[in-house]
């Protein structure tokens, strides 16, 4: 178990090194001059050069990279020019917002996608199957910002069921005392039902937006893998033994069919992390996605680098969790590991 963990983390090191190099080069290659931005439109040429020197941007690229590495080693991701805060502090403060949104989005996607896939596979080419296909295709082909805006239009503007899309809590509530940074969990820990429902209401539409987006890959994968498992020999044998429909579908077929679905969750999560950026923008969600976009527009390198690093670490960590989950379901992997 710990051996596997260590091996997985070691295997992730080259990925992280690659991410460090690429983000560094990428931000330098982007158009825009941070010194000019920071100095403001009225600044003289000399003032801009002065700031450039202060920021170390006049140094050769490899010196800048060396400084960057040294800072990273100290856990220093640099200062955000826009917020004036250390990037690490900014990200640490905003990461739970993104993580909560993404995970709830994934839960919604799996909570609907898996049953849809199963229903479709039990009656292939029936109306259930076609309906599932239409829903899933629509979900994945609509751009997330559009789905988000549509949901806001219908449920906030027209029906008035959802609160204004303005962040994690409305202006009159205060966040629960921080434990996990997930408002849903922290408010429950504090026994504050009112904040819980408030946070859930704020979360509903953006999480639904992400969920609709991630529904298609999960539903399709479940359907396909259910179909192949249902036609396999051991299901025929289970039917020959007279096992009941529920036992066959859930305990025999679904558990086997979920194995490839769990593997694809890694890919779905990386979709979601990408889609997050726009959804956060639409719903004024104070996560790291909207933070990165604002920094990018301002040619503010450090937060963008920090964002990409955080995403890479998150991605590696989530894939590790998925591997462990896979092991928990599949005994064959447990032995090999």
């Amino acid at each position: 178990m710990f051996g596997l963990l260590a091996r997985r983390l070691a295997a992730a090191l080259p990925t992280l090194a690659g991410v460090i190099v690429v983000t560094f080069l990428m931000t330098r290659a982007l158009p825009g001059d941070p010194a000019a931005y920071f100095a403001g439109p009225a600044a003289t040429r000399e003032a801009v050069e002065e700031i450039r020197r202060q920021l170390g941007l006049d140094q050769p690229l490899w010196v800048q990279f060396g400084d960057y590495l040294a800072d990273l080693a100290r856990g220093d991701l640099g200062l955000s020019i826009t917020t004036g805060q250390p990037v690490l502090a900014d990200i640490a403060q905003r990461l739970p917002a993104s993580a909560e949104l993404t995970l709830i989005g994934l839960l919604i996607a799996a909570g609907f996608g898996v049953p849809m896939g199963v229903a479709a596979a039990l009656r292939p080419n029936s109306w259930v199957d076609h309906l599932c296909r239409v829903i899933a295709t629509a979900g994945v082909s609509l751009p997330t910002f559009f789905t988000g805006l549509l949901l806001v239009y219908v449920f906030y503007y027209q029906l008035g069921w959802a609160p204004a899309p303005l962040g994690r809590l409305d202006a009159f509530s205060s966040p629960p005392p921080q434990v996990t940074g997930f408002y849903l969990i922290d408010s429950l820990l504090a026994g504050d039902i009112e904040t819980f429902t408030g946070a859930a209401a704020q979360l509903a539409l953006p999480a639904l937006t992400l969920g609709i987006f991630a529904l298609a890959p999960i539903a399709r994968m479940t359907r396909g893998s259910m179909l192949s498992v249902l036609s396999s020999d051991f299901i025929r044998a289970a039917r020959a033994a007279g096992l009941s429909g529920n036992t066959i579908v859930i305990r025999y077929a679904l558990r086997n069919a979920l194995l490839p679905v769990v593997t694809t969750l890694g890919m779905v999560l990386s979709f979601l992390l990408g889609a997050n950026v726009l959804v956060e923008k639409v719903f004024a969600w104070p996560g790291i996605g909207s933070y990165a976009i604002e920094a990018l527009i301002a040619s503010d390198y450090a937060p963008v680098q920090g964002f990409v690093m955080a995403m890479a670490i998150l991605y590696v960590a989530l894939n590790l969790v998925i591997d462990l989950a896979y092991q928990a379901i599949d005994p064959r992997v447990r032995i090999e590991a």
């Binding site: 051991f234 039917r239 020959a240 033994a241 007279g242 009941s244 194995l259 005994p331």
Partner: protein, 322 residues
Amino acid sequence: MSQPPLLSVEDLSVEFRTRSGTVRALEAISFAIARGETVGVVGESGSGKSVTAYTVMRLLDDAARITSGRIMFGGLDMLGADAGTLAELRGRELSMIFQNPRASLNPIRRVGQQIADVLLRHANVGAKEAGERAVALLAEVGIPEPSRRAKAYPFELSGGMCQRIGIAIALACRPALLIADEPTTGLDVTTQATIMDLVSELGRARGMATMLITHDLGLATERCDRVVVMHAGHVVEDAPTAALFAAPRHPYTARLFAATPRPGLALSEISTIPGGLPDLRRDDLPPCRFSTRCDRRRDACDAPPLPRVTHQGRLVACHNPL
């Protein structure tokens, strides 16, 4: 016959609708199995043995259509029975063991639990007793250290062990009929013999009837009271083993015997059957599907219908039998 047979299949036809045409997998086949009797079903690959077994179990996939016939099992009309009745029956009165033992077990469930699932479903026992009885069954099918092996997953066991698990599952509720579809294919010769001994022994002890499907005529004559010979979806001959062995009447059966290795027969004397099975998707299949491969063919063979002559308890479907 005073008592009706345990299983009777009458005039059964099955087709598969596929993209490349309709496969006429079974055409008007009939046979019966009495209580406690062991009947072999033999024929080359593709002759319809498995389709027959799946039809009796009502486990055909959706592409299949039963176009004619009747299957009676212990007084129940199997083709008219609803899904609930069938599920009650399967595993309790009517069981099956499969050709590929490992693939027939749930790969991610402990084998003891898989046996217990069947007991929980049919035997009216609680989880604890089902677990204990599963271990007892493992011992009964000759698995050493049964309580440890009950916790194993299929991939941790050998093919022979997996087939023993399959037998334990099939026999858990003491069925009246066991359908064994090539239960020893893919196992080594010694394991084959022990598995077959196990099936015969447990079958005898329980007074169970067995339908033993095999492509090995030698195995069938060794183990069975009666043998049904199938070719391209037809039953071409159905006779008591001794009579069949002494004098096969259908040219195909004779060919099968000639193609079966026996002690005292040099390898060079073993002949192969010329030609192959006809394409079952053809619309113009001849009445006798063996006629193109047969050296006793006459003009009458091309005229329908295919005769099905029963004489002294044996059936031959041939115009010009031996």
